[in-house]
């Protein structure tokens, strides 16, 4: 009896290939039922996200399992596609799952969404009755490892995109964003992403203004905000807490002279301005005013880059933690498995070897 993991991921295949192997959530139950019927598969969990499709199985014959699963699920698999499939035997698959749960195998290092995806995959398998003693223990251990790594290291700390850095900064200025008034000025791609970021963090009062009112209305409808005419945005400015500006204006539209009378009526409420425009919408001297914090693209990108670097540095220190848990799991497995796990060779597709 061996634990075995095989599949494709963003490290081994591009999106064209991943699309072909992806299993939608709606088909997960049926797929698990099919997996359970394949001869030799004693236990199985299927993890399918936009970045990976992975099968975790317990089987006496791993080589045969790969062939049977792929034939059953995907019919004829070409030689070119087979090259993208990785196969991880025994403890390598244990280590891989622990790393996946901790976000160390993710495209954006340390991201947290994968933890929930692994959890849902396991819950689906449990509901379908395809897990047993080994995979139950393995996945529960993986959740523990995922939490341990995130809580004791900085691998998930900081934001690594401009939008999420802006939202994080806003939370460090205002705390709860629910009662904050946020204006999106200019409906560009980055400002739209930032608006969604605010929405995800609980912002309720979102206003969108754009030279094209139709665009503003469309974005406002999507994020549950209110569209206002571009000519009226300055009148709303007085009560704003956060301004996300990304207009195509050739000159600055927020200046010290414009802000000074507004700030006098704002009491002690800070004003956070995210200037995503090139050329900039906000005069840089505005940042020097008391209670006003202006962050432009460069400053946001610099913070994101520092966070990513810090995560990469921290990832190395996670290996020791993971190894400790792998060893513990191996000890447990040795107690229940007759004989040690076979030291099989790892088969990676070409040079794109996962860690």
């Amino acid at each position: 009896m061996n634990i075995f993991c095989f599949g494709i991921s963003h490290q081994t295949a591009n999106v064209d290939v991943r699309e072909r192997f992806a299993i939608p959530d709606s088909a997960l139950g049926d797929s698990l039922a099919r997996l359970a019927k394949i001869p030799g598969i004693q236990e199985g969990v299927l993890l399918s996200t936009c970045n990976r499709t992975e099968f975790y199985v317990v089987t006496p014959d791993s080589q045969l399992a790969v062939e049977l699963v792929f034939r059953n699920f995907y019919g004829a698999v070409g030689v070119a596609e087979l090259e993208h499939i990785f196969r991880l035997p025994a403890l390598h698959s244990v280590r891989h799952l622990f790393r996946v749960a901790a976000g160390l195998e993710s495209m954006v290092l340390g991201e947290t969404e994968i933890f929930g995806q692994v959890k849902r995959a396991y819950e689906a398998a449990t509901l379908s009755g395809t897990t047993g003693k080994v995979l139950n223990r393995l996945f529960q251990r993986a959740f523990h490892v995922g939490k341990h790594v995130r809580s004791t290291t900085a691998v998930s700390r900081g934001s690594v995109s401009v939008g999420s850095v802006a939202v994080d900064l806003a939370q460090q200025i205002f705390g709860d964003l629910a009662g904050r008034k946020i204006m999106i000025l200019g409906a560009g791609e980055t400002s739209e992403k930032t608006a969604w970021g605010f929405k995800a963090k609980g912002a309720r009062q979102l206003f969108v203004s754009n030279r094209s009112f139709e665009k503003a209305a469309a974005l406002a409808a999507a994020i549950g905000g209110r569209a206002i005419k571009f000519s009226d945005w300055e009148t709303e400015f007085r009560d704003l807490d956060i301004l996300v500006s990304s207009t195509s204006a050739p000159h600055t539209i927020v200046t010290r002279a414009k802000l000074e009378p507004v700030l006098r009526t704002r009491r002690e409420r800070p004003l956070f301005i995210i200037d995503l425009a090139i050329p900039r919408d906000v005069d840089p001297v505005v940042h020097e005013m008391d209670g006003v914090y202006v962050y432009d693209l460069d400053s946001l990108q610099a913070i994101a880059a520092r966070s990513l670097e810090a995560r990469k540095r921290e990832a190395d220190s996670c290996d020791g933690l993971i190894e400790k848990h792998v060893t513990e799991f191996e000890s447990w497995l040795n107690q229940i498995v007759v004989g040690r796990l076979a030291p099989e060779a790892i088969e990676y597709p070409g040079a794109l070897s996962p860690k």
Partner: protein
């Protein structure tokens, strides 16, 4: 020298120093250590000061605020009490990281510079004197925490203005909440201090005008800060800075007033 109760203060000092040291290590090493450690170290320190105050109060038959040593211990106890009451809303770890060093400094001066012997008071307990000193000390605890919230505010402000937020930035409470905390603590301290001064005039007997003048000066300084805040005459960062300056003034002049005054209380 009553070593048996003084040792509780020394244990409390050790707890606060450990809590502070742990926080500094966590921040300097940029480690993700469990923030509860500092909190529990502060709780232990608080417990030890409670034991001291109980034993000393029992020994002298009144509220133990009869000399500089006791006053500093009581002031530390008041500050930590307020921290424990309001702390949960302000991320325990870093409020603790800032509270622990202030508690350590206060207790260090208490242990190092004060005799600490219990004074067997022959005088009858005057409830107005007890109320006066207790309210004044708890007010000082609130001013100490306002000073801490102000320091945290200025760190956040500096990090935001330089646009290079470090890991400490994301572990401190939001700047808006710090501003609110600073304001509320100033108000709390001011109200308690006002009550303390008011009850001081009801003690009876000869008024110590040096102490009275000093108390009114402190009251006036904090009153001025609060008025400036209400009228928005100064920015939040200046209120934070003034909270630090005012508490530093309070602490530094406190020793001089104690020295030249023959009455050990405020």
């Amino acid at each position: 020298m009553n070593f048996s109760d003084r040792v509780w203060v020394e244990l409390a000092l050790m707890s606060y120093v450990m809590g502070f040291g742990y926080s500094v290590y966590s921040l300097v090493a940029d480690k993700f250590l469990t923030p509860r450690m500092t909190f529990w170290a502060i709780c232990a320190g608080f417990l030890f000061t409670n034991v001291f105050l109980f034993q000393r109060g029992h020994a002298i038959g009144r509220c133990p605020i009869t000399n500089s040593f006791e006053v500093l211990v009581f002031m530390t106890w008041s500050m930590v009490l307020i921290y424990l009451v309001i702390g949960s809303g302000y991320r325990l770890s870093l409020m603790g990281a800032f509270t622990a060093p202030v508690a350590s400094i206060l207790l260090f001066f208490a242990v190092a510079l004060s005799p600490g012997e219990p004074v067997a008071r022959k005088i009858a307990v005057n409830p107005w004197l007890e109320a006066h000193t207790s309210f004044s000390m708890v007010a000082c605890g609130a001013f100490a925490l306002a000073c801490i919230a102000g320091a945290m505010f200025l760190i956040q402000e500096q990090q935001l203005k330089t646009r290079q937020p470090s890991s400490i930035f994301f572990r401190l409470p939001p700047i808006t909440e710090l501003s609110v905390a600073n304001s509320r603590l100033l108000w709390l301290g001011f109200i308690l201090f006002t009550v303390g001064i008011g009850t001081g005039f009801l003690i009876g007997g000869r008024i110590n005008w040096i102490q009275a003048a000093w108390s009114i000066l402190v009251w006036g300084v904090y009153g001025g800060i609060i008025i400036a805040r209400i009228r928005h005459a100064v920015a939040a960062k200046w209120v934070a800075a003034l909270s630090i300056i005012a508490f530093s003034l309070l602490l530094s002049t406190f020793w001089g007033i104690q020295f030249i005054s023959d009455r050990p209380s405020f």
